[in-house]
Amino acid sequence: MGREKLIQHRIMPVAVIVLVIIAIWYVGAYFMNAPFQRDLDRRANVTSTAIEFLEKTMSQPKPTLPAPHQVASNVFENTFLRKVTSNRSLVYHAWVTLSSTAVGFTLGTLLGILIAVGIVHVKALDRSLMPWIIASQMVPILAIAPMVIVVLGAVNITGLLPKALISTYLSFFPVAVGMVKGLRSPELIQLDLMRTYNASVAQTFWKLRVPASVPFLFTSMKVAIAASLVGAIVGELPTGAVAGIGSKLLAGAYYSQTIDIWAALIAGSVLAALLVAIVALVGKLVERAMGAKPERSLG
């Protein structure tokens, strides 16, 4: 792919959308913050020009909707200008959330694969397990999370693990569903071939079902890692956790630090995007190593 094409096909469309969003955001910030600013001005008996008024709506300390540059400078300050061990550093909070996301994602992926293997190989599980798995995802995570934290806290399991378990709860589902599909993806003719060799169930599993399921695994892991992050953040809310993006959101809400809330949201989004990108990249490398035809969609 040439540099020109990269700019034309990838960067341009994204940049345009970002600019549009920022523009809408600024307009929104003005209208959301204007009533409060008018109120302030009236009380202080100040009359300002339109430009002055506009500037004021963009620089309130606790705006209803912070302007993009306020959020950006908060994110920049708390990411690059603070020690990463500081309680105010977004890197520190992101790291706390990331570690429980990683543990939960790993457990969830393993659990999902295990369930899928069971469903594909044991007829009884195939018939009984799926409805329960689907039902498990119908329960709102916000209702389950506090109970998990409280129950585990009662048996002295606190800290990272309860949060990770909520991530696990959310992330095993896409992996289980994707892997059931993946392990069943070999065509009849490929399975017949194994039968003509009198291959054992284990040989068919390792030499056919597992390699055939790899693309499905990475697709579902992309969904699972984003779900894990949501799980970790949600898990931080009811614990009164002192660290993590979730606790940053909660603290911001308590003290009406709207800029902090938005900064934490941005940090969470960036983290999610990074995690999904990493999974996608690893998936691409693995598929390349497995001889997949290189994509030529942008060539």
Binding site: I189, D192, L193, R195, T196, Q203, K207, P211, A212, G291
Partner: protein, 263 residues
């Protein structure tokens, strides 16, 4: 050929009925057949005549519902479990994540051949199907004809003296098909395997076979068994000789007779 009296495949009154929602379908009915060691037997007939089903019964991919069949003197299941045949499907069925040589190694891995022996056999069979030098390629890097040759190499890699081929060249164009037919005959002469070959092409069946089994549908049954009088050494030009055309004519007559009751 006195030493060739061993029956590799022997079917007596073989029948297979599929139970479907629309009632029973008689895929095979009263099939009697002997395939001797070293034979090249073609099964020809319109679709639905049970030729593929019969091949799948030999391979123990389907089970007969009546009659008897032995493969290498055993039940089809026994023959499959002792890995006594190689099967070539309509599609190459190569595993896309394996290179060509790894695909050929697949049966060898499953049957626990040593690494050294695997290497030797991969080289030998690649050579046999004229794919030497393509071992490191992935299937998508090869043409359809080359892929099907690789799948034949895979079926030849282990020690099975029976080769079952289910319309292996059906999806290829005629020029490639002619070429592969010629190669297949040479390969048959070199390896002295017994081959059961399903096709719906009359020239292909006549060109390749020592014995042509003509089948007809509903119910699937054998209507004629023609023993070829062509010599074993067959250049492609043999297809224009009167002898060849006479056999082709008899096959065509057999196919027509099988169809007549439908009108």
């Amino acid at each position: 050929m006195a030493e060739n009296n061993f029956s590799v495949v022997s079917a007596r009154k073989l029948g297979l009925t599929f139970e479907t929602n629309d009632g029973p379908v008689h895929a095979l009915s009263d099939v009697d057949l002997e395939v001797k060691r070293g034979d090249f037997v073609s099964f020809i007939g319109p679709s639905g005549c049970g030729k593929t089903t019969f091949l799948r019964v030999i391979a123990d991919l389907e089970s007969a519902t009546s009659g008897e069949i032995t493969v290498n003197g055993m039940t089809p299941e026994g023959a499959r479990k002792s890995r006594s045949y190689g099967y070539v499907f309509q599609a190459p069925a190569l595993y896309p994540w394996r290179t060509i040589e790894k695909n050929i190694a697949l049966p060898l891995e499953i049957m626990n051949y040593s690494t050294a022996e695997r290497k030797e056999r991969i080289e030998r069979t690649l050579d046999l199907v004229n794919l030497a030098g393509f071992g490191k390629k992935y299937p998508w890097q090869l043409s359809g004809g080359m892929q099907q040759r690789a799948s034949i190499a895979r079926a030849l890699a282990f020690d099975a003296d029976l080769l079952l081929m289910d319309e292996p060249f059906g999806a290829l164009d005629e020029i490639v098909r002619d070429h592969l037919n010629e190669q297949l005959l040479k390969l048959w002469a070199r390896t002295e395997k017994t081959i059961c070959f399903v096709t719906h092409s009359i020239p292909e069946a006549v060109y390749l076979s020592t014995k042509i089994v003509v089948m007809s549908p509903r119910p699937g049954r054998v209507t004629d068994v023609i023993t070829s009088t062509l010599p074993k050494d067959r250049p492609l030009e043999i297809r224009e000789t009167p002898e060849f055309l006479a056999i082709a004519h008899r096959v065509r007559e057999g196919l027509r007779a099988g169809h007549s009751y439908e009108e």
